[in-house]
Symmetry: C2
Subunit: 326 residues, 2 copies
């Protein structure tokens, strides 16, 4: 924490009221000239700070920039977000996080960027990441599990993000197995879980989360949407705060990750089922070499989808894509 | 293939007989002076080449150096060893291979070194890798499987190495679950399987194989031995050719890997069972947080060990260590 953060904290703590330059000097332990220099720097970063000769300083507006100081402010987590690295533009936050995790970056560290030039989805697909309108972040986890337990982490992420989106926007976000979040049948969020592992031990997991927040339809593929576009159908037209949503997501991931470690996957799977509109529905399952129709029946303790074939037989689907049939 | 390789190939094809300088010039398409320069270079690499003014050149001895040209010579594989990178001394061949695989190095590529300064075993353990006496190599595989299938690759490696060692030395090598090869209850080979994966797709696997070939007891931990030390009990005292054994191992891995891809894990598991002295034996199972005794009962299609508890119940062991109880 530098002096900028200290000054910012004092301004924040004071809410919308003024604090005198003198008091600010005392708290920060520097001269008036130094205070002024730091205020100017904060303004450059997008903070709207009123300076009145008689009343002092007052924080009016906070930028919706994904900077560590803003995300960490009153963040209620035990592990996730202990360290946050913020970038303006990267190839892919998952790639950056993977490289840093290999060098030992700690569990809970978050890599976040304003723009991705090579955003990735599952199976080498592209994740559109236009600048300034979405959340593109990766969380490093070191769960000490076996590699075949990785789907549990994807379940944790899907439940956490769906709940955070519901809580923050009121939109009826649902989970589509294994790792998409839909609103009105359109994809608003994707999750990409990658790991380095030995045969029986995960070294680390990089949990990538992409959310289309204020992204416009024209910047997205046809099957996708953004939270703002979906709220517009309900009459909303303001930009959503990405910083606030990031905090909600990090808090939800932290809570559910710790729940998984304490109680196993049972409670997470129950929540997953409640948030999934898929179970019971007719679906098309696409495997690498064939596709077939079936009924989505259940999700098992490993995170695999269990489908009922037309013959009545149950079959486990561990990998692949599914589409609900209207 | 450079000119050195061409000249070497001609000398090899001629077996133990002489080939005239003139003929060698014709075949290689260079001058006598150039031939001489290359012969000198090959001698520097350890090749014993006789040069007689009247008869010409004759290959007498081949160095036991783990150089690509020697390993590739008449190597009968479809995938494994298509590319071989040889190092004198590395931190760990698995680390090198992992880094190169991330940059796209092809399936079947082999990284081999004469010495490792940071050789690794499972779960962060050390693998002793003194110079010049062992085989330390890593094979890059891209099997297009799900991450929970990685134990199948370890089974493939264990079966392949055990068979190659038996064939090459006649020693009764057996497999200890999940990934050790023992001779006379002492460890002569270890396998370390690492991967990069998404939730439902392996990106690549690095299959690390370490074999104590001519290593002396004093350079090894107490529970370990080398092929030469075990042969000594039977009266043998010559150094074994590491190059020949590497070729046998690569060929066996290639054969069993292709078998796995064509027929699934069934046939591999049958071979595994025949090569394992463990099934039926009383064992101690050490999990991260507890240990217990049981009877080794079976190995299932996923590569997990199935044990029979004293209560009669069967339990699956996916990770952990086991010791046979005498």
């Amino acid at each position: 924490m530098g002096l900028d953060d200290d000054i910012l904290d004092v301004l924040r703590e004071n809410g919308g009221t003024h604090i005198s330059g003198e008091e600010l000097c005392k708290t920060a332990g520097v001269s008036r000239a130094a205070i002024w220099k730091h205020i100017e720097k904060l303004r450059d970063e997008g903070y709207d700070i009123e300076a009145s000769p008689h009343l002092g300083y007052r924080l009016i507006g906070i930028p919706d920039s994904l900077i560590p100081g803003e995300i960490k402010w009153k963040l209620k987590t035990a592990i996730v977000g202990r360290k946050i690295l913020s970038y303006r533009k990267v190839d892919s936050t998952n790639t950056i996080a993977y490289g840093l995790a290999e060098k030992g970056l700690e569990e809970g560290a978050v890599i976040i960027a304003d723009e991705q030039t090579g955003g990735r989805g599952r199976q080498g697909r592209v994740w559109n990441s236009p600048p300034g309108s979405g959340i593109y972040m990766s969380i490093i986890l070191r769960p000490g599990m076996a590699p075949n337990e990785i789907p549990k982490i994807t379940l944790v992420a899907a439940v956490a993000v769906a709940k955070a989106v519901r809580q923050f926007t009121g939109l009826p976000a649902i989970i589509k197995w294994p790792n998409d979040i839909l609103v009105n049948r359109r994809k608003v969020c994707g999750i990409l879980t990658e790991m380095k592992a030995e045969q029986d031990r995960i070294g680390f997991i990089v949990l990538g989360i992409g959310v289309n927040v204020n992204t416009r339809h024209k910047d997205l593929p046809k099957t996708a949407s953004s939270l703002k576009e979906e709220l517009r159908r309900h009459g909303g037209d303001n930009d959503l705060s990405r910083v606030e949503l990031v905090k909600k997501i990090l808090e939800a991931v932290d809570r559910h990750y710790n729940l998984l470690k304490k109680k196993g996957s049972g409670p997470i799977i129950e929540e997953w089922k409640e948030l999934s509109a898929m179970l019971g529905a007719r679906i098309r399952v696409a495997l690498p070499n064939r596709s077939f129709e079936a009924q989505a029946h259940d999700i098992d303790q490993d995170g695999s989808l269990v489908v009922r074939l037309d013959s009545g037989m149950l079959q486990k689907v561990a990998a692949g894509d599914v589409e609900m049939i209207r």
